[in-house]
Each structure stands twice: as C-alpha cells, then as structure tokens.
C-alpha cells in the first residue's frame, strides 16, 4: 500500500505540470459546459469529434505509414449503428414511412453507450475485411480500397431502405448536448493512443513507417502489426461517427461523402503526420477555421460587391491550404514532435536566442 502511494507521489512529482494542466483542462470543459451557448457548444463538440477521428487517422497514416482514406465510411458505420439502435421505438413508424423497419431490428433499442461501442465494433469488422487483402500487399492499394469502400458504404446505406431508411436518412436520434460525452471520449482516446504509441506496439508501428523491410528483418510481423493499427483506427473512427450522429440528431448518406475524409487529411497534415498533440491542435484550428471562414461563401456584405465571394470559395481556400502545406511545410505544425514541456521550453529558449541574436547582428533571418 505504502509502495503504491510512493510511486504515485513520485509520478506526480515528475509530471506535476501535466497534472495541473489536466485539472485546468477539466475545469475549463466544465465551465464551458455550463456557460457556452448552443452554437458554440455544437462547435466545441464537433472539435472533439474531429480530434477523435483525426487521431485515429494519424495512428494509421502518420504513425504506421499506411494510407487509409476510409474515415468517412467508418464514421458512417458508427453513425448509422447509433442511429438505428437509439431512435425511440415509438417514432420509428413516422421515420420509416416509405418502408417499415426490418422486423428483426424494429423493436430493439439500446442505451447510447452500448450503441456507440457497437458502432465501433461494426467498423472493426468491416475494416478487417478491407484490410485482409490490402495490408498483405506493399503499395498503395489500401488508399484506393478504403476510398472505394467509403463510396460503397454510401451506396449500400442508400439501398437498404428497411434498415437505414435509404436516402431519406434517420431523424430524431436522441441527441447529446453536454460536452462531457465528446470530450470525455476524446480524452480517453487520447490517453489510449499515447499509451499505445509508447508501447511495444507503437514502436512496431513506427518501425513499419520508417522502413518496412528493416522492420520485417527485425522480427516485426508486418501484416499483424498493420492490421492492429488499422483496426484500432477503425474502432476509434466508428466511435467518432457515433458521437457525430448523436450530436447532429440526424444521419443521411450525403453527410458521409468522401470529401469529409479530406477534412481529416488536412488536419493530420497540418498538425504533423505522427504527432498526437499536433493533431489535437490542428483539429481545433481547422474546425474553428472552417466556421470562421464561412463569410467567404457569402456575397460580400460590405464595400464593393465583388463576385469573388460566393459558395465554394471556402473549400477552395481549404484545398489550397492543403496543397501549400504539403508542398512547402511538409512537416506541418509539429512534424513528428510532441508538445511536451521540454519541447515548449526548448522552443522558448530558441526564440529568445533568436530575438537577442537579432539585436546584436544586423542579419536576423528566420521565421
């Protein structure tokens, strides 16, 4: 007993800054949960969901070096699982008015948390079937197969009228409005990812990213390790999708167009492929940025009525941003670094050095 107390004490001594930071963060979320208005609440919830899905994508693409583009599809599976199993039974007849819900599902209603986990597991099952042929091969087949899968899953969901209500989608899903669901899940997933990355598995993931042949020679089972990463990623993405459905209260196949995946791609590229903290920062930057730049899509309300501002400009800006980052700032914000206290201290020192260096010499370059 005394020993464990000691080790906890030692741990706290070592990580007191992180502990303080976590406490501040939790208080911050708690305060936000009480005070923010419904628009901001929805936006903050969306940020947390983007953190979850982007983190899962970075696990596969950034840490393991496998190029998966199936995020929209896995989210759709998670979202539809939550939708189908949590919609109140009494409102089902009104939603499924074209064709009644399949009898084997019509009377099943599950608690949200169960449906959420079920959605993650359903994603895992599907990911297994996509991964088995693709992850055995070297090359980029995974990219095309996962992108194709997210198109197929939309086609399937549009055609299975009695389960998913086809193109009409499912409405009146019980919604979550508290920030704790999304942020709690996001925190759990962040912690799980950090532990995973620092474990033997995490080192195996990174070794595959750096050099498959060398990793294999060192005894890393390529297929098994890639599959582990891909399945964990799919599970998290499915959970993210389930939260997404519960946040919006409605799902339909159009929400899960493959362009959704490109948002997450932008996030992980901006944050740095292979950086957890970079992904978290970039999730907020991109989600809030997309909201802040909404004015680009509207005709100018002030000054000259330039025809430049019209629907679509925002997405042009975002895709252009993706290109600029890939071409000129390939490492993104963080590269493969993490935002640790040492990292901050180091940055602080180097900035300070640069500033003082500027004073002494006339040539003060740098960024």
């Amino acid at each position: 007993m005394k020993e464990t107390q000691n080790s906890i004490g030692a741990y706290l001594k070592l990580h007191w800054k992180t502990a303080v930071f976590l406490v501040v963060l939790l208080i911050g979320i708690g305060l936000a949960d009480i005070f923010v208005d419904s628009y901001m609440r929805r936006l903050l919830n969306l940020c947390a969901i983007y953190v979850i899905v982007s983190l899962a994508m970075n696990l596969v693409n950034g840490f393991t070096g496998q190029f998966s583009l199936g995020q929209a599809g896995f989210m759709a599976i998670g979202a539809y699982t939550v939708a189908v199993f949590t919609v109140p039974i009494e409102s089902r007849a009104a939603i499924f008015y074209l064709e009644p819900m399949a009898p084997f599902l019509a009377n099943i209603q599950l608690p949200f948390i169960v449906a959420l986990i079920l959605g993650g597991l359903a994603s895992v099952v599907v990911a297994f079937f996509i991964g088995s042929p693709c992850l055995r091969l070297r090359g980029d087949y995974l990219a095309i197969a996962t992108l194709g899968f997210s198109e197929i899953i939309r086609i399937v969901f549009t055609n299975t009228q009695s389960i998913t209500n086809g193109a009409l989608g499912i409405k009146s899903i019980p919604t979550i409005s508290s920030l704790w669901w999304t942020y709690g899940t996001a925190l759990l997933i962040i912690i799980a990812t950090v532990l995973l990355i620092n474990s033997t598995y995490g080192r195996a993931f990174k070794s595959i990213r750096e050099d498959e042949i060398a990793a294999e020679a060192m005894g890393v089972g390529l297929f098994k390790t890639k599959m582990t990463s891909f399945l964990i990623g799919a599970f998290f993405t499915g959970i993210g999708g389930g939260l997404f459905a519960a946040l919006l209260g409605t799902v339909d196949p159009k929400q899960f167009y493959f362009t959704l995946t490109y948002n997450f791609l932008l996030i992980i590229v901006l944050g740095g492929m292979g950086s957890i903290s970079g992904t978290i920062i970039a999730s907020f930057v991109v989600t809030l940025g997309q909201e802040a730049l909404r004015f680009l899509d509207e005709p100018m309300a002030f000054g000259l009525d330039l025809p430049i501002f019209r629907p679509g400009l925002r997405m042009v800006v975002f895709s252009f941003l993706l290109m600029v980052i890939v071409l000129f700032y390939r490492k993104g914000l963080m590269g493969t670094n993490e935002l640790t206290w040492d990292f901050i201290a180091q940055k602080y020192r180097s900035i300070k050095k640069k500033l003082s260096g500027k004073k002494t010499s006339t040539e003060g370059g740098g960024n």
Binding site: I152, I213, V316
Partner: protein, 301 residues
C-alpha cells in the same frame, strides 16, 4: 434472374459494355502510365477528366466554337493541365516520402473539384446533344446509338497509336526504361523530366478524348463527375496489372462488360452498379495481386 433476355438485347448489351469498357480503358491508361513511372496513384486524373469535360462544354455550349476546334482546344488544354500539375505539385516532391506525394495528388484532386464547383457551380450542366451521335439506327431489329460504335473505334485507334509510340519510338523506349529502373535510366542520360512530362501529356490527352466521348454518351457535366470514373479506372488498371498499358485496356473492358451485364441480368442490383468495381478489386487483390498481365514485383532493399 434472366427475364426476357433475347439474343437481340443481349447483343445490344454487349455493344454497350464494349463502349463503356473502352471509355474506362482510355482513362485507365493515364493511371497505369503514371503509376508505371512514378509509382504514384494520380488521384487528380479523374479530375483532369472532369476539367476536359468542362472545356468541351464551354467550347461548344458557351463560346459556340465548331466541334472540331473545340476538341483540339480541349485536348490541348487538358494536356497542358496534366503537365502543369506534374510540374507544380509532383516534381518538387519527387525525393520526398511517398506519403507526401500521395497527399499532394489528393490535394490537387480536391483543389480541382473545389475550383470547378466554385467557378462552374455544383449543379450539373446539360451537355449539348450531338444528333449525329445519338440518333439511333437499326440493324436487323437492333437499335444502336452511333456513339456506342464510335467510342470503341476511336479508343482502338488511339490505343494502337499509343502502343506504337511506346514500342517503336525513342520517347517510348525512354518511358519503358524509366518504368523499369528510374535511377539507371537517369544514369544512362535519359532526360527524366521530359519523359515524365510526356507521360502526363499522353495520359491527359487520352483522358480528354475519353471525356469528350463520355459526354456524348452521358450528356451532362458536373464538378464531381470525375470521382467515380476515376476510382473505377484505377481499379481497371489494377485488374489488368498496374503499370501495363495492355493490362489497363483489358481491365477497362472487363469492368465495362461486368457492369453492363450485371445490370442487364440482375435489374434488382441496378443501385449497386458502382459497387461492382470494388468487389472485383478486393477479389483481384486477394487472388491475383499483380493483376492479370502484371509481372510479379520484387521489393528490393
């Protein structure tokens, strides 16, 4: 099951499959050539195809140019677009990690789609009809659209020309050399950049012709029209053996026939028409990962 499938309708479906397959083949060649040389899935290829369709649409329906002028301008502009994309988005990343190159390709694709949505609006535009190509004619009780016959003929001529270029000309020899061994080809004095540019030019030109013929068959243009054909044609290239031009043609035809015949035999599955390509992809990757005509690739250290 087979409901009222007569010999006539079956023949008609075969012609239809041939024309759809030839279109796929024309686009698939662009994928396979780029993959053969750069080992890159050129995600932007489907969107180059889409831009070509818009060029044709603007030439004919907006600027009222004669069709032959429009076709020449379209092919020229599309080649320019393809070469520019390679120059701007792929060349600076040639020594970067593969993932960066792949992301760049996705970025270009996303950018083209968004720029097209922004400039031309997301609504589909009606492509002017070519009465010469769409008025059906009859042979022995069978009705054909002339375009269904023209597509395979044009495709056949272009593919023969391409095979001639690849196998008999100097630039074709250089392309083959670069595809076999990039570094050695460089050491032998082959101008890599020129070879890659001409690969993109040829691929884009074929995509442009594909787009023109596509719009005659399916007369509407929209910014996301290149996505699904793009994915399918990459799959066609994988079916035939990625990197192999004849394989891409074979894969395109197989895909075209399977789609058309599946819908003809099982009308209930019409909604799943776009899904069959991916089912075939999974099967091919499981049992014949190098494709039908591909060589076994050995990964070297």
């Amino acid at each position: 099951m087979v409901v009222g499938m007569t010999m006539e309708t079956f023949l008609q479906q075969l012609i239809n499959g041939l024309s759809v397959g030839s279109l796929y083949a024309l686009i698939a060649i662009g994928y396979t050539m780029v993959y053969g040389i750069l080992r890159l899935i050129n995600f932007a290829h489907g969107d180059i195809f889409m831009m070509a369709a818009y060029f044709t649409y603007f030439g004919i329906a907006v600027f009222f140019l004669p069709w032959y002028v429009t076709f020449i301008i379209t092919i020229g502009l599309t080649m320019l677009l393809g070469v520019t994309i390679e120059r701007v988005a792929y060349r600076p990343l040639r020594d970067a990690p593969k993932t960066s190159l792949l992301i760049s390709a996705i970025g270009v694709s996303f950018l083209l789609e968004n720029v097209a949505t922004y400039l031309f609006s997301g609504k589909p535009q009606a492509f002017p009809e070519f009465p010469l190509m769409t008025t059906p004619f009859f042979i022995g009780g069978l009705s054909f659209q002339p375009v269904s016959i023209v597509i395979p003929i044009v495709a056949f001529i272009l593919m023969s020309a391409l095979l001639f270029i690849i196998n008999k000309t100097k630039i074709g020899m250089a392309m083959r050399a670069v595809a076999v061994d990039y570094d050695t080809a460089k050491l032998m004095g082959i101008k890599i950049n020129g070879v890659i540019s001409s690969t993109f030019a040829i691929g884009s030109a074929l995509a442009a012709v594909g787009a023109i013929l596509w719009c005659m068959k399916y007369p509407s243009v929209l910014p996301l029209m290149g996505v699904v054909p793009g994915l399918k044609c990459f799959i066609a290239a994988v079916i035939g053996g990625i990197g192999n031009v004849k394989g891409a043609v074979l894969g395109g035809l197989i895909l075209g026939f399977s789609e058309v015949l599946m819908v003809a035999f099982f009308p209930a599955l019409t909604g799943y028409r776009d899904a069959i390509a991916f089912v075939i992809l999974i099967i091919i990757l499981l049992f014949l990962p190098n494709g039908l005509l591909g060589k076994k690739q050995v990964e070297k250290v």
